[in-house]
């Protein structure tokens, strides 16, 4: 029964008992057990990552009215393993003039930046890598390593496409990191903590999505840009830049970038679920068993991942100038205004009952969103009139 309630702790104590029985130092045994736990978590993640390839291919096939992989194994389930074997036995070429050390370091850092995100992701009430009190900022720090890996890959490949693709990707990532940072402040304000677990606990009565739907939406846009997925995949504009920063990578090094991107998407889906949809909480079901909590968390993460895929396979790629205009002149100011309004309303509604607080927050978000949309509408009307002349628009009113 104890195992059912807190499996990790029971297993850890059991293992620690074995290790200290061998005559190991207690502290060292503890670190060793944690090391094994981390290894287990990351191995599970890598296996999950393999199946994400299959999920992604199956779902994109459905979006495009195809069947997807269906030859290797039932429903093509063995297909990703075939892909991996192919990647492993491929020749690993390094282009002439590449900066070898940096070139080989980049895919490792790229994968690492995704894997260390799981240090702060609570997958169940009792299962959390590290209970950092700066969890939200840690996520940005991990993203910084990812940004660095892209610039390293682009620079060291000695390839113009890679360099330009890497630069564009980094310019875009840093641009969208501003709304992302700002939107991370909103759950922090609500929870009064940067700790991921505290943010989940704070959503006991109301999901933060209800308190800040606009914030959740801006955060979603920012994470899609951070991932470099369509509609923001301009670093890999196939017609102009081949494959962007990973043009020169082959074999397993390319595989690391690819697998890293998929796992990153799923991780961000999970973090979106944690910050705005209550993470592993689901009407008290998480109290029944940690296993159920993990299932709830995974479900939310996969729903988030599905939304990211849905956007990717529905939208077309936007140009870099449109992307930058969209970010700097719309998303960034909007996120700052939303932050200020949220902080103000939070202080104004302090001490009111939950339903008043919820309705007030929700309405303030709706008002901010509505004003922003009106501004965009009038801007696009002016742009249209500049091209078509005012007459046509006037006619449309008849």
């Amino acid at each position: 029964m104890n195992f059912w309630n807190d499996p990790l702790k029971v297993a850890a104590e059991w293992l620690e008992g074995i290790f200290t029985g061998w005559g190991l130092d207690a502290v060292f045994a503890h670190v060793l057990v944690v090391f094994l736990g981390v290894l287990l978590l990351i191995t599970v993640l890598m296996v999950l990552d393999i199946f994400l390839v299959w999920i992604e291919r199956k779902i994109v096939a459905r979006f495009q009215d195809r069947i997807g992989p269906n030859r290797v194994g039932p429903y093509g389930l063995i297909q990703p393993f075939a892909d991996i074997i192919k990647l492993i036995i491929k020749e690993d070429t390094t282009p002439d003039g590449a900066d070898k050390v940096v070139y080989n370091l980049a895919p490792i850092l790229s994968m690492m930046s995704v894997l260390i995100l799981w240090a702060i992701v609570p997958i169940a009430p009792v299962m959390l890598g590290v209970d950092l009190n700066v969890g939200v900022l840690f996520m940005i720090a991990a993203g910084a390593i990812g940004t660095l890996s892209i610039i390293m890959a682009g620079w060291s490949s000695n390839n113009k496409f890679a360099l330009i693709g890497g630069f564009r990707q980094v310019a875009m990532m840093v641009a969208f990191e501003i709304p992302m940072l700002t939107m991370l402040l909103i759950p922090t304000i609500f929870a009064g903590s940067m700790n991921m677990n505290a943010i989940i606990q704070g959503q006991g009565s109301l999901w933060y999505f209800v308190l800040s739907p606009l914030g959740a939406l801006i955060f979603l846009i920012a994470i899609i840009a951070e991932l470099g997925r369509a509609p923001f995949d301009l670093a890999e504009g196939e017609s102009e830049l081949v494959a962007g920063f990973n043009t020169e990578y082959s074999g397993m090094k390319f595989g690391m970038f690819y697998a890293g991107e998929l796992l990153h998407a799923m991780t961000f889906g999970g973090i979106w679920g944690i910050l705005f949809f209550g993470g592993y909480r689901f009407f008290g079901l998480e109290q029944v068993s940690p296993f159920l909590a993990i299932a709830i968390f995974l479900f939310k993460a996969l729903v988030g991942y599905w939304v990211i895929m849905w956007v990717k396979y529905t939208m077309m790629r936007i140009r870099i100038d449109q992307m930058l205009t969209f970010n700097w002149m719309f998303l960034t100011p909007l996120s700052f205004v939303l932050l200020m309004v949220t902080a103000f309303m939070n202080a104004l509604l302090a001490g009111t009952p939950t339903w008043v607080y919820g309705i007030g927050m929700f309405l303030s978000n709706v008002v901010v969103g509505w004003i922003a949309m009106e501004l965009v509408r009038s801007y696009s009307r002016r742009e249209r009139e500049k091209i078509e002349g005012p007459k046509k628009v006037a006619e449309a009113h008849h």
């Binding site: 020749e91 020169e248 103000f344």
Partner: protein, 117 residues
């Protein structure tokens, strides 16, 4: 003991896994380099000129504005953590803080530096 030791463990394991995967590719893959295979990919055409092309100076502006707002966020995170207990004056301070920086954003914008030209 310090909780960051566990973060270090995550970093070590997070580095070991990709190194292992790449090493597997290195061990099992064929190695038959030749000059054409090793040459830089430029859609099948022979590489023209040096790779280190001159870049648009605007990339610098994007990184610059990002840096400024990054530091701003660093100041705002402690503010946001305590906001619920501090009352209205802290909110006003934060709003002043953000507004001052928005002035900078507007200046850069009016200078046309945030447009892709």
């Amino acid at each position: 003991m310090n909780e960051w030791i566990y973060v270090a463990l995550f970093m070590i394991v997070g580095a070991i896994i990709p190194i292992g995967a790449i090493a597997a590719g290195f061990i099992f893959g064929p190695k038959k380099p030749n000059p054409i295979k090793q040459s830089t990919y430029e859609c099948g055409i022979e590489p023209v000129g040096d790779v280190w092309v001159q870049f648009k100076a605007q990339y610098y502006i994007f990184a610059l504005v990002f840096l400024v707002f990054d530091v701003e966020a660093v100041f705002l995170f402690p503010w946001a953590v305590k906001l619920g207990q501090l009352g209205m004056y802290a909110v006003v301070e934060g709003i002043i803080f953000i507004s001052i920086l928005i002035v900078g954003l507007v200046y850069t914008w009016r200078k046309g530096m945030l447009e892709w030209s």
